[in-house]
Amino acid sequence: MNLRVAFLVACGAAYAQTTDNPLAHEPQVVTAGYSVFRIYCSPCHGIHAQGGRGPDLTRGIYHSGEKDSDLFRTISDGLSATEMVGFGLDMSDTDIWRIVAYIRSVANHEAPAVPGNRADGEKLFRANGGCGACHVVRGRGGRMGPELTRIGRQRSLEYLRDAVLDPNKEILPGWTAITVTRLDGTKLTGVERGLDNFSVQFMDMEGNYYSFFRADVASIKREDRSLMPADYGQRLKAAEIDDLVAYLVSLRGTETLH
């Protein structure tokens, strides 16, 4: 552990004993916090903290702890095994506290209404929708798509709806389609597991894993499309889409939101 990290950990330990933001009463702290939030946080949490690729922060529900010090630690250190990275080396403690003040200011504690029936959505997910063939939820499902066990925590409702109806709207790194043409002309297609200047890794629809150096194949094509079907809007009724989204919103890891 280097000294800077040790310092941050020490700071974290000190802050853990206080629940209040030391800058909470500073004039303009929310405005200042929003300025920093716009730079570092809005790409995932939305420009008004309403969520997107990252959780909706306006609900005032924080899964890494409810205290100001918990929010500070999350911003500073990130959350392991999630997409939340730490910003402790990129921004000052003061700026992190300002962001905490901003996040508190937008928390209205009102969960957005979720239309649809969660239980029906789960049935759809497992049966007619075919979602489980490619997505794991709590240990069950296929491997071709991202695991969804915690997706209700990770994404906003609107983001999840968009992802069901238009999976190509935003393809996150690592989930594009890869087609490799081998030297003998045969083609292999799968989901990207890695692509760099000299090699490619991917998994085909049967779950077989491949890795090639570029020099050993004829071509590698990364396509800006998801392998997820893009026609759920036509295949499912509007009410079924609502049910499916309600189920996705309810997926919160070990717990389930009812």
Binding site: N2, A32, L89, S92
Partner: protein, 527 residues
């Protein structure tokens, strides 16, 4: 020191731990060492060593790996002399390493204070050396002199006040008996400058402000008192022409970065190349690449000094691959434009006029709803080190090929606080790519591109072996054919590379060194 003498001393297991001003001027003639940021004062990053070449580079293999143990960006250009490799790390760490084994000889560290205004972490890009001293900046905007043999602190002087947003990250250069340094902090409403300090005492000899004050020449290019927060950081090391006695240094974006409405005018001398008298710090000439920038397109990239033939005439030139997407060649005696050409996709401008001013496309400023502009906030070529090979007469640099959405966000200035008035966002499903670009510096014509999956921040090294070495964001160190761009060798280091490679010789054998991830790795040929 003559090459033969250096070779003999190296063979004897002994090498002098001093660097003279003459050695710095002659740095290009001593390929065994790496004495200053850009290899020579002209910033070529070219080595006469050709033992490793296009026919045998496939036999390049690691010799040692030093794990720094420090998190954060490793962006250092190592110095090599006296049997040591001298590397700076993030967060005020630095090491002297044994050149033969990579073992640590000494370690320097000073804990950074809290409350720093940081845009981009706490990196550091290298030492400068003179006599028995090493010089580096610390992140809290100080300049420190160390004893090269022990790492002991000889003196440390404040460059400016970190509580007002000033920081420092670039490698200094030595000019005569002075240490010339830049600063960072344009995102915090600072006013940029370049400083020179006496190498013996640390006393400041001169300061050149990169933002013209009211009443000064150029001061009328700022509305009201906006110059006081005008930015113009100088966070990448400049170059020096001893014959003209001029220092060339690129300047950063104006502040606030993307709200141009509060700082009407061209905003001199931001996003410019300035040529300043090495003795007095007075401005000799300037060339502004992006007047009234609103896209954060710092012009800090290496100003590389070349003597070349342009349209049949020999000319002393300075070239830069600017962040705004254009490559520029200027006459370095007077700052007049020689050539300009795009090297990546540009949507904000249709060309460069004869005087060097960009012809603008309307509606490209950041907006509340987001404005799509190419290149992206990081520009085409940003800060990473470039290289020029006199063998191929080509100029090499990394390019990011990407667009961004630029958002305007009005902001009040408060001392020491973030003041960019903006943000940017990736465009969904347009992730951007990168390339190593080889340009004919006389025309700006792109000769070849080595396409990369993602943008690169690694620097370049050119060698007499007909090679260009670089790295990538996926952890590979790469050797390309300098004439064609064909990849000839790569090695997976396991860490993101955001530093330039260097080369030197040890016991008569050519070595390559580079910071990768949180390690320093060296390579040599194996049988």
């Amino acid at each position: 020191m003559r090459i033969a003498v250096a070779f003999f001393l190296a063979l004897a297991g002994f090498a002098a731990t001093t660097v003279t001003e003459q050695q710095l001027r002659d740095a290009q003639t001593d390929p065994a060492t790496w004495l200053t940021y850009g290899k020579n004062y002209a910033g070529w990053r070219y080595s006469e060593l050709g033992e490793i070449n296009t026919s045998n580079v496939s036999r390049l293999a690691p010799r040692w790996i030093y794990q720094t143990g420090q998190s954060g960006s490793h962006e250092t250009t190592p110095l090599v002399f006296g049997g040591m490799m001298l590397v700076t790390g993030p967060s005020n760490h630095a090491d002297a390493l044994d050149l033969l084994t990579g073992k640590q000889i000494w370690h320097y560290h000073k804990a950074p204070p809290s409350g720093l205004g940081l845009c981009c972490g706490e990196p550091n890009r290298g030492f400068a050396a003179l006599g028995e001293k090493l010089f580096k900046v610390n992140i809290e905007a100080t300049l420190v002199a160390l004893d090269a043999r022990s790492g002991s602190v000889l003196w440390e002087k404040p460059i400016d006040d970190y509580k007002k947003g000033f920081t420092a990250t670039g490698a200094p250069i030595i000019v005569k008996n002075r240490v010339v340094v830049g600063m960072a902090g344009a995102e915090f409403g600072t006013r940029g400058f370049i400083d020179a300090y006496d190498a013996s005492t640390g006393e400041r000899a001169w300061r050149f402000y990169t933002v013209a004050a009211k009443g000064e020449p150029g001061g009328d290019t700022w509305d009201g008192d906006s110059w006081q927060r005008g930015g113009g950081s100088t966070w990448i090391t400049g170059t020096y022409d001893p014959e003209l006695n001029l220092i060339y240094w690129g300047t950063g974006n104006p502040g606030p970065g993307m709200d141009g409405s509060v700082r009407g005018g061209d905003n001199l001398y931001t996003c410019s190349l300035v040529a300043i008298d090495a003795d007095t710090g007075k401005l000799k000439w300037y060339f502004q690449f992006t007047p009234h920038d609103t896209h954060d397109w710092d012009a800090v990239a290496d100003p590389v000094l070349l003597d070349m033939t342009v349209k049949g005439e020999k000319v002393k030139a300075v070239v830069q691959a600017d962040r705004n997407g254009y490559f520029y060649a200027l006459n370095r005696t007077n700052g007049k434009l020689l050539a300009a050409a795009p090297y990546t996709k540009i949507t904000w401008s249709t060309g460069i006029d004869a005087k060097g001013r960009p012809q603008l496309v309307p509606g490209m400023d950041p907006s509340e709803e987001g404005t799509k502009v190419c290149p992206s906030l990081g520009g085409g070529h940003n800060w990473s080190a470039t290289a020029y090979s006199p063998q191929t007469k080509l100029y090499y640099f990394g390019s990011t090929d990407r667009c961004h959405l630029f958002y305007l966000h009005k902001q009040e200035y408060r001392t020491g606080q973030w003041y960019q008035a903006s943000t940017e966002a990736e465009i969904p499903n347009e992730p951007g790519a990168g390339a190593v670009v080889a340009v004919d510096p006389a025309t700006g014509e792109t000769r070849w591109r080595f396409e990369m999956v993602s943008p690169t921040s690694a620097g370049m090294l050119a060698t007499a072996g007909g090679l260009v070495f670089t790295g990538d964001g996926h952890g590979y160190v790469v050797a390309l054919d300098a004439r064609t761009g064909k990849p000839l060798w790569h090695f997976q280091t396991g860490g993101n590379i955001i530093a330039p490679p260097i080369t030197y010789s040890l016991n008569g054998k050519q070595q390559i060194a580079i910071a990768a991830g949180t390690s320093i790795i060296t390579f040599a040929l194996v049988n």
